[in-house]
């Protein structure tokens, strides 16, 4: 039963994947419009991707707790 729950918990990765994919598209669009700002755009994008990935990691931590300790 724990493993089923762990599998469901990791489904939160869908949100992170979609969100970061959309953000990448916007970042590429912005870079294409103004290539001089590429450095700033990329650093903002990396920061945003790191933040958005955190919610997927929360799901992963819950699944670790379910598999290994409970």
């Amino acid at each position: 039963m724990n493993f089923i729950g762990a599998g469901i918990a990791v489904l939160s990765g869908i949100g992170a994947g979609v969100g970061i994919g959309i953000a990448t598209g916007k970042a590429i669009e912005a870079t294409a419009r103004q290539p001089e700002a590429a450095g700033k755009i990329m650093s903002t994008f990396i920061l945003g991707a790191g933040l958005a990935e955190a919610t997927a990691i929360y799901g992963l931590v819950i699944s670790f707790i379910l598999i290994f300790t409970v």
Partner: protein, 227 residues
């Protein structure tokens, strides 16, 4: 390997202080960084030689980050942010040499998050005074009081969990990769994992360090301006 249990103690102090593996590695990192810092800043000249140019580049990078994210009046935070960045970077990259990074231990990341929490709130109190700090919880409406309290608490919590989760996932994946390759043959474990190490350990470690530092800087600025 369980992410919540792993404590095996090296010694027990006078009142049962359990020193685990992560703390010993952190002491090693602190010692190495301290000795390197003292030795590298020995003879600073006006016309810099190559070693000094590298150190000055490092310092100006941190200074630019602090100035652009926090503004001019926060220059005194450059040492704290710089130390945090270098310390986190070295700890995250320990996975490259085969040592389990200390940040894969929830207690370590919670300690770092608590220190950030203390710095954020102490900054807010020092810059605004205690009364305005307490009144700041009830802004803009009094009904936002629980939400404000929750936000103050969740910021360090999410910092700790984010760093911990990423490091544990990276270490686990690399270990699984080595295990799987070792079962095919012994030779296969020599060349192929370089890409995996490069992505998981190097890229992930650097990104997590950047995210932690940026969030610390932005939260210090936001919390003290919020009041």
């Amino acid at each position: 390997m369980g992410p919540v249990i792993p404590i095996f103690s090296f010694k027990i102090g006078s009142f049962s202080l359990i020193v685990g593996k992560a703390i010993i590695w952190q002491w090693v990192v602190i010692l190495i960084l301290g000795i390197a810092a003292v030795l590298l800043t020995r003879n600073l000249k006006r016309n810099p030689n190559k070693k000094q140019v590298v150190l000055e580049t490092l310092y100006t990078t941190v200074e630019d980050l602090v100035k652009s994210n926090m503004g001019e009046s926060y220059i005194s935070y450059i040492p704290y942010i710089g130390t945090l960045m270098v310390y986190l970077l070295v700890m995250n990259l320990l996975g490259l040499v085969g040592i389990e990074p200390p940040t894969a231990n929830l207690s370590v990341t919670t300690g770092l998050a608590i220190s950030t929490f203390i710095v954020i709130n102490a900054t807010a109190i020092k810059r605004n005074g205690v009364l305005k700090f307490i009144k700041g919880f009830a802004q803009p409406y009094a009904a936002m009081l629980p939400i404000n309290i929750m936000e103050r608490v969740i910021v360090p919590l999410s910092l700790a969990l984010r760093l911990f989760g990423n490091m544990v996932a990276a270490a686990l994946l690399v270990e699984l990769l080595y295990h799987g390759l070792g079962q095919i043959t012994f030779i296969a474990g020599i060349g192929l994992p370089i890409i995996a190490h490069g992505y998981f350990d190097l890229f992930d470690g650097v990104i997590q360090m950047i995210v932690f530092s940026m969030l610390t800087m932005i939260n210090i600025k936001l919390t003290s301006e919020h009041n």
